[in-house]
Symmetry: C2
């Protein structure tokens, strides 16, 4: 029955097959297709089970510390953790203070943000080396909100004694700290709610799965992968989007620290194009540059870059990265303070840092309405950054991170922090990398970071007063190097994938020129739209047999091909759903060169005319039998003009622009003699009223290769069934090959095989099977054709009902008009 041989011809195995041709029902019968069973009761029981086991699992999942702490080996890891933690802590402190500047907040806020969020993460985080902390992009987004809700003008008053406008900085900072905390709280709520919502989804999915059908089964088993494991939105962020967004954010950050570096005053802007106005003001203000600030900035940048390059070069020899940031901060403070440089040169300095823990505050819920869009953006971006870092660490060290638990941990970190006036945090990338490269193995490193920050907050902070802000600005600017290198991304992306390049550019422009939250919304929206575009821009193509094989390929790509008479093969490589169902139908029409709907209508009109003519003819015949030839000529001319009219429509609708030859509507050759010979007394046109020669049809079977159709929705099914019935009216068989298992299920559920739509027997395992079957049946039919009435299969009804079924192709059902009828 089946030969299986690996012949060693030309050092290449051979593929030898000898099996019967299968269509799907025969195949399923022969090879015992199973109906998959889903145990119902068990699943229901499982949901409502509330055992100690389950509670333990829940605890272990949400407090990962319970699983890693008992296994912690202090002897091996504690030393590494402490060293890496302390050295990373010295990066965390200046970075936090610098990013507080970006957020338009007092530097002490950076210390708070670098301390409080670490506490919940210590218990809840799944990434061992991760240190939560400030992140420049988030900080600048917080900064915009602070500016909008507490603009400087609200706190300035004219001081008559000084004869100048004075800003009550202290009160402004206080208000802004409140806003920052409120925003952090809202962001935290979004971040906490997201995983909880997906939990609920999962439970619903589980409960629904007791119904054991495809959808709910998918929901229940896959929700785990979809919602649960990947959070609910972050998954929709393509790399091109993230890189475009990060680059634009980096540029915005650079522009916003320039004022600190040059020591010039620039009025704050917010809203679209703010960055352009700021840049303009900075350029205009350059003549007023504070030279001392600039010198501090330049010196620190040069030193920092040099040391970074060196330590990069010798990184294999260093036990842990040099915490150069803290060295620069200490040196700058030591130079600036004792020499009284700030007073001499009017430099902008960090100023007084209040020691001790902050008094907890409550969020001002009424402000949430104005913050909602920013909070969403913060939640998404923070989560994405966090997850990316966690995944990288996990892959490097071979553990798993649970994305949802990460989001929960992040949310809790922000939530606790929000009462202590932090601004929104995610993972502190450079700190985390420092911990990792210094050999940190667990969250104890993060505990040490906390200790370092606490010491600064409680004692050392006071000494940082004379630190020039320009030094912090320089620290930020230097760290932007890699981001700005990403500006060359579009060049590489364009070569690799034009669509990804489009996503990058759109995201970049929207983020840079509008604002960061807009950038997130537009970028995410556009990258999803691109997916839809891609499914629309798939070229269906004709396929022909490659000579001497069972392989079918596009004849435009291969030369040694042969087409099979009477059979057309068209493949389409895209899901079939509402956005491209109509496109699919038109591709098939174009590739086969035959529009069944129009052909049927043309036939019908032709038949109507024939009938009229015949009645006329009969009359005339009775009147004068000698005038017959001339009337036949008139009739023919009319038929042709009918077809011409159709072609005119084709030309007028723009399809004339396409290079391919216009679809030809097959003329059917009813020979004059045949018509003349017809019995004219049959009354209403019966199916066999006009026998049509089967030859003029360019093909008797159309095979759709649906291998690339990975899902189908109701509109796709509708188009397929309509195509099936209209081709059937023309006597053309519609076969489908390579239907994916899941698509088959969707077809079945969607009723494609119901009530005389598509016959299951027209589905084949491969194009080759379908072709062999088609040739077989066509040969059979040809031999028996003469015996049967030729018109039986090929004739069609003028019956109204039948025609409506065929004509109603429009993407919307006629019922849509019900709204107004």
């Amino acid at each position: 029955m089946f030969q299986y041989a690996v012949a060693m011809h030309q050092d290449r195995p051979r593929c030898v097959i000898d099996r019967p041709v299968f269509n799907l029902p025969e195949f399923d019968r022969e090879y015992d297709k199973r109906r998959r069973q889903f145990p119902v009761g068990e699943k229901v029981k499982k949901i409502f089970r509330c055992s100690g086991q389950r509670l333990k699992g829940l605890l272990l999942r949400h407090l990962p510390i319970l699983s890693w702490l008992p296994k912690y080996k202090p002897k091996e890891n504690l030393l590494c953790d402490v060293i890496s933690g302390v050295s990373a802590g010295t990066i965390q402190v200046p970075q936090g203070m610098a990013f507080a500047l970006l957020a338009n907040l007092p530097p002490v806020n950076g210390l708070y943000s670098s301390f409080f969020p670490l506490i919940p993460y210590f218990f809840m985080g799944t990434a061992h080396q991760m240190v939560p902390g400030t992140f420049a992009v988030l900080s600048i987004m917080v900064g915009i909100v602070c500016l909008q809700l507490a603009p400087e003008s609200d706190f300035s008053h004219f001081n008559a004694t000084l004869n100048a406008t004075v800003v009550d900085t202290e009160r402004m900072d206080d208000v802004r700290l409140g806003i920052s905390g409120t925003l952090a709280c809202l962001t935290a709520i979004i971040q906490v709610l997201a995983p909880l919502t997906s939990h609920c989804f999962k439970d619903i999915g589980d409960a629904a799965s007791s119904k054991s059908d495809t959808f709910t089964n998918l929901m229940s088993t896959q929700i785990g992968l979809g919602f649960m494991q990947f959070g609910f939105v972050a998954i929709y962020l393509s790399e091109s989007f993230v890189r475009g967004f990060m680059t634009a954010a980096g540029l915005q950050i650079l522009i916003s620290v320039l004022k600190y570096i040059f020591g010039i005053k620039v009025p704050p802007y917010s809203g679209p194009l703010a960055v352009v106005y700021t840049l303009k003001d900075i350029l205009a203000g350059l003549p007023d540059t504070n030279i001392a600030s600039l010198v501090f900035a330049l010196v620190s940048s040069v030193v920092l870059i040099a040391v970074k390059e060196l330590s990069e070069h010798y990184r294999h020899r260093l036990p842990f990265p040099i915490p150069m940031e803290i060295v620069i901060v200490v040196v700058a403070t030591a130079v600036s303070g004792p020499l009284h440089l700030p007073e001499m040169y009017h430099m902008d300095i960090v100023g007084y840092i209040p020691l001790g823990f902050p008094t907890p505050i409550l969020p001002t819920v009424s402000q949430w309405e104005d913050m909602l869009s920013t909070a969403f953006s913060l939640a998404i971006v923070g989560y994405v950054i966090n997850l990316a870092m966690a995944r990288t660490l996990a892959a490097k060290h071979g553990y798993d991170v649970n994305p949802n638990q990460e989001m929960l941990a992040l949310g809790c970190s922000n939530f606790l922090g929000s009462f202590f006036k932090i601004h929104v945090i995610c993972c502190a990338l450079s700190v985390t990398l420092a911990v990792d490269s210094a050999g940190g193995k667990s969250q104890f490193a993060s505990l040490c970071v906390m200790l370092v920050v606490m010491v600064t907050m409680l004692a050392l902070g006071a000494y940082l007063k004379p630190l020039p802000k320009s030094v912090l600005g320089a620290l930020i600017a230097v760290n932007l190097k890699n981001t700005l290198l990403q500006l060359t991304d579009p060049y590489y992306l364009w070569k690799k994938s034009k669509w990804d390049c489009c996503v990058w550019v759109v995201t970049f422009l929207a983020t840079f020129f509008l604002s960061l939250p807009y950038g997130v919304a537009i970028g995410v929206g556009f990258s999803i739209l691109v997916v839809i575009f891609k499914t629309q821009f798939r070229n269906g193509s004709e396929m022909v047999q490659i000579i001497d094989t069972d392989i079918y390929k596009n004849p435009k790509m291969y030369t040694k091909v042969m087409s099979i008479t009477g059979v057309k093969v068209v493949n389409y490589c895209s899901p079939l759903y509402f956005a491209n169902a109509e496109i699919f139908r038109q591709r098939v029409i174009k590739k086969t060169g035959l529009d069944p709907g129009k052909l049927i209508l043309a036939r019908r009109k032709f038949l109507e005319k024939e009938l009229k003519e015949k009645t006329k003819m009969e009359k005339k015949d009775k009147e004068a039998r000698q005038r017959k030839p001339s009337s036949l000529v008139t009739m023919k001319v009319q038929t042709i003009s009918q077809l011409e009219l159709q072609n005119d429509f084709d030309l007028s609708d723009g399809s004339a622009n396409t290079p391919e030859p216009p679809t030809n509507y097959v003329n059917f050759h009813c020979s004059d003699i045949e018509l003349g010979e017809q019995a004219p007394d049959q009354g209403p046109p019966s199916p066999s009223a006009v026998t049509l020669d089967p030859q003029p049809m360019p093909f008797h079977t159309l095979i759709l290769d649906l291998a690339g159709v990975c899902f189908i929705d109701l509109m796709g099914i509708k188009v397929l069934t309509k195509m099936n019935s209209s081709y059937a009216l023309l006597g053309i068989k519609l076969y489908m090959a390579n239907v994916q298992a899941q698509v088959y299920e969707e077809l079945e559920a969607g009723g494609a095989f119901d009530d005389g739509n598509i016959a299951r027997g027209n589905l084949f395992l491969s194009v080759h099977d379908a072709i062999l079957f088609a040739q077989h049946t066509s040969a059979e039919r040809r031999s028996s054709l003469k015996a049967e009435t030729a018109g039986q299969e090929l004739a069609f009804n003028i019956n109204e009902a039948n025609l409506e079924q065929v004509c109603n192709y429009s993407s919307l059902p006629i019922q849509a008009d019900a709204a107004q009828r």
Copy 2:
């Protein structure tokens, strides 16, 4: 070389194949794959060609009247057109007036809306039987804007003589007419700009196609199908969305006409939940029902329903539908006016209708900002309805409609009308259907409709003054019958497709409870998200050979299967892109039961331990040679605990919930003796330091069946290449089968075949080819294995660079941290 036989075994053809096994490069070489050439110069020339031909084409395309008018046959069609047009006109008039009520505008606005927009459409429309006019759903959306921008309270003042608040209705109507015109103008601009934009897109695409690469080629040839032919948004509306939206809109319309039917005063609401408040007020106001209004409404509805049912029953015998609407209006007016019923019963009547043409106005551009979202919704919904009707007509009569030209025509209709105080129109469904069923053949019918409306506007309108509004309300309510029947949609949809049902329900709820523009936004967004969900919820499945065939199927579905030793086949049926690339990787890991990244890490740790142990052993060896056995035991225990640690992580991340057995990390059996025999003085671990027995790997080849992958983006390519390199490190070959032609191009452009990533030779034409090849090479290798160094292929480096490449699986590149580093 190839046998092609159709044996008549069991009345079924047989599939007999004997051909060499191909991988893609071999196949392309043997069968002469062509590089497709795109003629560059010609295309550029074509774009800049500005011939008379082109101008003529442009004119014909945008003014379809030029093509149909010369061919018009007055003798045959004019009579039909006039009869159908006049009878349809009598529907257009009362319908326009009724829908003006929905729009919170004076009835005369309905007449304007039914007249002016028809003029541009006469010249520009591509659907022959289409009559533009008012549409209930659009009217109610306009009504909300009118309410918001010109609330009644703005025009009411306290009149001391009447001791009551009096509303200056005349001035209010005037302002609202201005708002309505302004809104129509904005909608028109959106509708006109959309096709023009897509024109530009097409031209850019054409110009770019001179570069002759895949993307631009796709853009240029497919933009015609994507943007050009289908408008730019309407295509994203699934049928479920439209039906859900229409049903909710119908319910809202019903609720908003109840006040006219019952003749009660209800304060106007707008915004979310407006419909709930309105309903509450109507229920509360029921005791104050105006009996006369209610009687008029009930009588007209009963008559209308009865006549509609009868005419539906006898529709084949009627030459044209009975214009019952106008009969009811005339009778109601004739009863109400002479008997002075309105004055007697304080009924709400249509009132004075100003005769003559309105004076043109200019749109108040400053109001556009508030109208933007509604205008977008109006443009989309109007276009969708129009296109659906046009397609239905076109399919029925066998001509083509050009969707873009339709949108342009609709835009121009609204644009002209906007100067004459119309509210936004699209196609007047019942009027169009009346024209069609009465045998109208061309836009001349629409001209007759225009004449009827004009006569009413110029002369007859004055007589309609005493017509009760409740009659108009009843006309609207009766026409909603079919829409409300759609409330049963979810029941049928749920059986056919759960996702489509979800779209319906979400759209319905959002539209009904929030508002119509929100409903459009949420519905469209959700139906696009569903597409993304669908690609995420695809189950990759393992595949095994069906006994005695070249067919591979899911072993869960078929019983007569055999798995091939050493080869795993996994299929995945979804595009591979940013939203599911990671899911895909995890599916493969789950289905193969082997996580290459973790295995490599485990190996590496194992090796490090081995090395340490060995160094220790050496020392101990030197110290005391007799203690060797005990040290080996320790080592083994440690290895197992390492693997246990991994499993613990797997359990804690929630994957324990899934029913399938947890992925097992293959233990590799380094026999004690082998290790003992190793030369311990090799210094740093070289690739051949530890020879690994190839047997423990559960498979030597992994075949991915990518037939269902219909497109791939850069993140998909990245995942594939990373998988390839990590499997390669483990000595597992990754083959891909059934790669679609377009996916192959994307892989090529994306650099998947560059610099030592995936070898082209690993791509096969079918799963069977790949398996035969794998068995062939594995047999070859096994025979030559003993001769070569066994470790060469299977060994791996502890080299850092190599490892980072493997570990860096995370969806975001490590460069993302550049923003902060």
